[in-house]
Symmetry: C2
């Protein structure tokens, strides 16, 4: 059925499983586009331009913001981050959905944009904060001080849960993935999203019996 | 997660697969209640009171309507049909969803009722009208004249497709059943349906780290 692509916003505190869930959704549905963020921060070892981020200079970034080429943008720890608009609009016109891994600030800006009517927003909660901290520590990447900072940021992120269409508690990755699939499947089936339905019913009623 | 039960309205023209789909949904989820209609028409062979219908007298029926005990009611071919309110309200309070097999008139009345905010409505379309007629004829139950009448009623029913939250084209029963499951799963996960979320997040934030 003909339809306009959706903007699927997935937010969660760091460590609640969002990246794994996003990867699984992309594997489940290869028509789904992932919105690769632009950033002015330098690449870390192993990060590829165009895959993990679009690495850009502050001047280029500001030009893009000035030219309304960013769907949302924010400054975090002195670096600029944003979601380029063009790939999203191309996907929408082709009836393909775009998945955004953004925080509450990005979610708010995209919802408030002209494309806000096409947004489906999902917040993933950890089952508990000690469990979240355990997951962050088990990565073995960060110092105690960084963990404390991440946990404070997590609490700030969680405080925005009520701005989302759906809120999932990620007790079990498989169950949460199944719930995400159901949400995408159902949202695509909403009558007001299926632009082709009117023509289909017209043809149905006018067809020979 | 604590929540109020939903009212799931399933409508379709006769022969589009609605009864089979309703039965499959009930098998999939045994927490789902089916709304058994009340009617003043006499039972047909094999029909059981309380299972296929609540068979009642016109006087009893009118008393129940007068006492606001019917969520919706209508007269069809001289007989009264209605959905009793009490079992629905009991299920809602227990967090269980109720499935309604009603036509567009029933759907409109339930949506317009005080419980309308808890309604999820789904319309099932046949892939084509000749296919619908073929399905009606293959039952071998009805004369040509009855089939012509049913097809006219089907067209009238289909004309109300745009009043529903979801519209599914039943090309393939298994696919349509999967879509219905996804819709129920997603609707139950909507933030505004999960009354227990606020308390969960409060506990999450206040719990020890």
């Amino acid at each position: 059925m003909e339809r306009t692509g959706l903007l699927i916003i997935l937010s969660s505190p760091s460590g609640a499983g969002k990246s794994t869930l996003a990867r699984r959704l992309m594997q489940w549905d290869d028509s789904l586009s992932f919105s690769v963020s632009a950033t002015t921060r330098p690449p870390r070892p192993g990060e590829l331009d165009g895959q993990h981020y679009h690495f850009t200079t502050p001047a280029e970034f500001r030009d893009q913001v000035a030219g309304d080429q960013m769907l949302e943008h924010a400054e975090v720890f002195g670096n600029l981050y944003g979601s380029p608009r063009a790939p999203v609009e191309i996907a929408m016109r082709a009836g393909r959905d775009t998945l955004f891994d953004v925080d509450w600030q990005g979610g708010q800006q995209i919802r408030a944009s002209a494309l806000g009517g096409h947004v489906v927003s999902i917040f993933v909660l950890p089952p508990s904060l000690p469990e979240l901290e355990r997951r962050l520590r088990s990565r073995g990447q960060d110092s105690d001080e960084v963990i404390v900072g991440r946990m404070a940021k997590s609490r700030a992120e969680i405080s925005h849960w009520a701005e989302y269409d759906y809120v999932l508690v990620n007790d079990d990755l498989d169950q949460t993935e199944a719930d995400l699939r159901a949400i995408l499947t159902a949202e695509r089936l909403r009558r007001d999203r299926c632009a082709g339905l009117g023509a289909f019913v017209k043809q149905l009623m006018e067809g020979q019996e």
